[in-house]
């Protein structure tokens, strides 16, 4: 039976069914498989960049914990600030893929105004480095103002490139 199926008789009309089936399968992959793969891909990118941003937030929280509660852990602020500067260097690559299919508050401007986005992340890195330097140099009087400067860099970037709270996926 199988031999007949694979017959090479050139005079027989060509059986189009396998071709049609194949095309349908490719089409189905195109309609179902590819988008699903894309969505999964987007989710992975979103998850990663949110991990980077959460790490920055956690270090900011650590700095806040030390200062607002008067903990005798001044030196730790240098490490937190250095970690923020390090993570700031990861932001550009974390957002290099335009991934928008998923739970994200990233605004399209991130990929439309790439220079401005890079400038904003640089501003954060520089502010974090300045804070780390103040601690390293023992310039304690500058810690408070530099925390504020770092905070402003976070705020100005979020204002431009992150959805406002009312539109956040967290509030739906």
């Amino acid at each position: 039976m199988s031999l007949r199926i694979v017959s090479t008789d050139k005079n027989r009309p060509m059986n189009r069914r396998p071709w049609i089936t194949g095309l349908l399968l490719i089409g189905a992959w195109g309609f179902l498989g590819a988008p699903t793969a894309q969505a999964a891909d987007d989710e992975a990118w979103i998850q990663y960049r949110q991990s980077v941003m959460s790490a920055i937030g956690a270090d900011m929280a650590g700095i806040g914990d030390i200062l607002k509660n008067g903990l005798p852990l001044t030196k730790n602020i240098e490490f937190h600030a250095t970690a923020i500067a390090t993570n700031a260097r990861l932001v550009a690559s974390a957002f290099s893929q335009r991934a928008e299919n998923g739970q994200t508050d990233a605004l399209p401007d991130i990929w439309q105004k790439t220079d401005a986005f890079a400038e904003a992340t640089d501003e954060m890195r520089e502010a974090a480095e300045q804070l780390a330097a103040a601690v390293a140099e023992g310039n304690d009087a500058q810690i408070g103002p530099r925390v504020k400067t770092l905070g402003k860099s976070c705020g100005s970037c979020h204002k431009t490139f992150r959805k406002p709270k009312k539109d956040s996926y967290k509030n739906k």
Binding site: I143, P145, K148, P164
Partner: protein, 315 residues
């Protein structure tokens, strides 16, 4: 001991005793805005502090559309509400378009009664429902400060609201339903810090105006005082700031609140956006630490209300 648990002597700038030199310097930085006795300040200087406690009157500068270079306090900011769009007014001392023609009494009447010098009602987007609780002396000082800012000529804009929400005379009925003029009355059973916080929250800080949902008539829903609103100014969500553990700020410590009002950073390290970020940047961050502590004391004491605020909650 201070509310944060540190001896008061450690608050003195340059003090030699403290858990760390950093903390002493940090405290100096935090306390710096209140250096000097109140009696040494001019009315305008005291008024600047009142101005800061009102969030720097940020609604009167059109930051959203004109950015950081927006004419300071010259109004023109669109404030979107469920009833229409209202524009903030020019509160610079410009004689024709601002407060230049106001007397001190005119200013007090506007703030405490919601009436213009000609006797017209102001629309309640101007939160005189809160400012009515402010003391005469604070308002006189605030007026003195506003007289010192650069005058800018910019005409005020009429609201873009359908009738009857654009008719000033209807506000008389609105006031009858929703406005109770009168100063903040101290609670003798509470501490001075708590009473100061209550005054700041309910008066100049006008926290309830955004953080309390509104009734069908646009009045504040007093049963949900400070429990958050999905329809805050400019369409923003205003979170529940009662000390409810699940939906409010029950898990925020006093230090968290003081830090938040100073820097805009929440306990999780995220920053604040929107109008609240402006209020902090242009006002609350410059308040004295004792004032921020008073606000924290008061907010931690109000009745907790479970009220989840999100975009579709209707509250």
């Amino acid at each position: 001991m201070t509310p944060l648990g540190f001896p008061k002597q450690e608050r003195v700038a340059g003090g030699s005793i403290g858990p760390s030199a950093l903390f002493a310097l940090l405290l100096a930085w935090l306390v710096a805005p209140v250096a000097g006795a109140e009696g040494d300040l001019t009315a305008a200087q005291r008024g600047q502090r009142v101005f800061e406690s009102a969030g720097g009157c940020s609604c009167h500068t059109n930051y959203p559309e004109e950015g950081a270079d927006a004419p300071w306090l010259a109004g023109g900011r669109a404030l979107s509400t469920p009833f229409g769009v209202y524009y903030s007014s020019n509160i610079t001392p410009d004689p024709t378009t601002g407060l230049g023609g106001f007397t001190q009494d005119d200013f007090l009447r506007a703030m405490q009664e919601g009436l213009s010098p000609e006797g017209h009602n102001y629309f309640p987007i101007f939160p005189y429902t809160a400012f009515t609780k402010m003391s005469d002396s604070d308002l006189r000082d605030l007026f003195a400060f506003l007289k010192t800012v650069p005058p800018i000529e910019r005409s005020n804009q009429a609201p873009e609201a359908p009738a009857p929400f654009s008719w000033r005379w209807t506000i008389t009925a609105w006031k009858w339903l929703n406005f109770k003029p009168g100063r903040q009355v101290p609670d003798p059973t509470q501490s001075a810090a708590w009473n100061r916080g209550a005054y700041l929250v309910n008066g100049p800080g006008h926290c309830g105006e955004c953080h309390t949902p509104r009734t069908l008539t646009g009045g504040l829903d007093r049963g949900l005082w400070l429990a958050g609103s999905a329809e805050g100014p400019e369409g923003e969500l205003a979170p529940n700031i009662t000390p409810d553990d699940a939906t409010g700020i029950g898990d925020w410590s006093t230090a968290d609140l003081v830090w938040y009002l100073e820097t805009g950073f929440k306990p999780d390290g995220d920053d604040t956006q929107g109008l609240m970020a402006e209020l902090i940047e242009h006002g609350f961050s410059d308040m004295s630490r004792p004032d921020r502590e008073g606000i924290a004391d008061y907010l931690k004491s109000v009745p907790p209300i479970q009220n989840e605020v999100h975009r579709d909650s209707g509250q």
